[in-house]
Amino acid sequence: MRYLPLTQDDRSAMLARIGASKIDDLFVDVPEEARLSGPIAGLPLHASEMAVEKHMRRLSKKNLAAADAAFFLGAGAYKHHVPASVDHIIQRGEFLTAYTPYQPEIAQGTLQMLFEFQSQVARLYGCAVANASMYDGSTACWEAVAMAGRVTRRKRVVLSGALHPHYAEVVRTMAKFTEDEIAGASPALEASPDNAGLISRIDDQTSCVVVQYPDILGRIPDLAAIAEAAHSKGALLIAVNTEPVALGAIKSPGELGADIVVGEGQSIGVGLQFGGPYLGLFAVRDPKHVRQMPGRLCGETQDAEGKRGFVLTLSTREQHIRREKATSNICTNSGLCALAFSVHMTLLGEKGLRALAAENHRLACLAADRLAKVPGVSVLNDAFFNEFTLRLGKDARKVVRTLADRGVLAGVSLGRLFPAHDELADCLLVAVTETTTEEDIETLASAFEEVLA
């Protein structure tokens, strides 16, 4: 087998050194009756590269790749162009096949990269400190809720109705076990988010308010007003961002007073990948909250010769030291996705990020205007960045399926995201990025004109 270097002669010589006569002498502690006598049922024998590749390619071909369609899906995962050099760099064996940097003297590559990544994320989010990543946006969102509980010592959590429903579901799932009290709401189909309604739900027992920015309908909530209301009751504001490219165009959540900013970093460098691995981003505005943060942190220090170097630090928050009193049980995070994000962000730089955001917004405006001209279609949003909600006047899930058969991936229906809410069934979320062409927009518009007529 091509991945196993030992020869039969090696194995015999090694068994002799050990003082064993056969390999099963080393498995004596496995009870005889539990030992497998034959191969795993149904699993074929080892196969060549060529054979396995063929099998996997066959499965791959059964999927419609985003690049092969007019593509308008978003809702927490966005199709962006990733420069070729990003994939080249993350495939360097020194990054790809390294472990968590527990031995800093021979892991400065990963550590310096993480320090740069943390700095980039902190600036993007308008925060003081970002960690070295979480699994994804939804788990980062829950970790932020848990952290707010530690900071405020309160258990009442207010979720905005316009938070991604899967994120809300993750929070609700975890809260069942930690006995946090979750006050959720349904999204109201208004042109602007209902800030007053949200603010009225904050009281002096509230640990945190969780607000998505831009929200699940693509609208842009006024975080500053919510932050002020939350702070006046001693609660924290958690801002959730699922489209980091937006922050090249709109104010950062930290700037607007959010205390903890979390989000999904997938848009920058990572790719769609059918939902994972993705990249959880986690930052705090006030450095005094650092010791309540979950996850790994990389910090600057010096070596014995006085040279600058980097180490994982403040580890006493973490499970391998604090065990049952840790801030989180997280261990492995999304290191390689953080590298992809950091490389892509370096290629963009501030100038490129702003240009990318502007191009996304320009095309989204173009699409919104064109699609609003389709009879029966209207745009819900007053404001948006690169994603907005359309009312189709028909069951949007059916429309999506019909269009998929024509090779158009029209968007994410709210019926798929909120299956229990019939009042949302005729709504479609449409995302537009720099990868969308004006021709794609025209394809979608004319497809609507046909199926909605």
Binding site: R291, S315, T316, I321
Partner: protein, 123 residues
């Protein structure tokens, strides 16, 4: 003023109705370089043997227990800026917090300086 010691390596100085608590020189030696101390805020009520503070070195976090019942009146703010005080002056400027004395009889169960020294020697 009298100083008492616990078998968890805390010291407590009693001065009238209030007491000052810290960790012993022996304890700081065992912990190594102290990088952070998490102190209870004023008003926290403590019970003997319960968690009162956390002291951290690079690779370890250790709980500091309340030697007696009482209420915290003040944490040592100097430790926030300079946790190394616990290493350099554990039984002086590196004190952790001041507290009221809820039950003076609990002091009777603690060790005096000689008793604590003998205790450490036996470890």
């Amino acid at each position: 003023m009298a100083r008492y010691f616990t078998d968890e390596h805390e010291w407590i100085d009693v001065d009238g109705d209030t007491a000052t608590v810290g960790i012993t020189d022996y304890a700081q030696g065992q912990l190594g370089d102290i990088v952070f101390v998490e102190l209870p805020s004023a008003g926290t009520s403590l019970s003997k043997g319960g968690d009162a503070a956390v002291v951290e070195s690079v690779k370890a976090a250790s709980d500091v227990y309340a030697p007696i019942d009482g209420e915290v009146t003040e944490g040592n703010g100097a430790l926030e800026d300079d946790p190394a005080l616990v290493n350099t002056a554990s039984e002086g400027d590196g004190w952790f917090f001041k507290m009221t004395i809820g039950d003076a009889s609990q002091l009777d169960g603690l060790m005096d300086e000689a008793g604590y020294k003998a205790f450490c020697d036996s470890l």
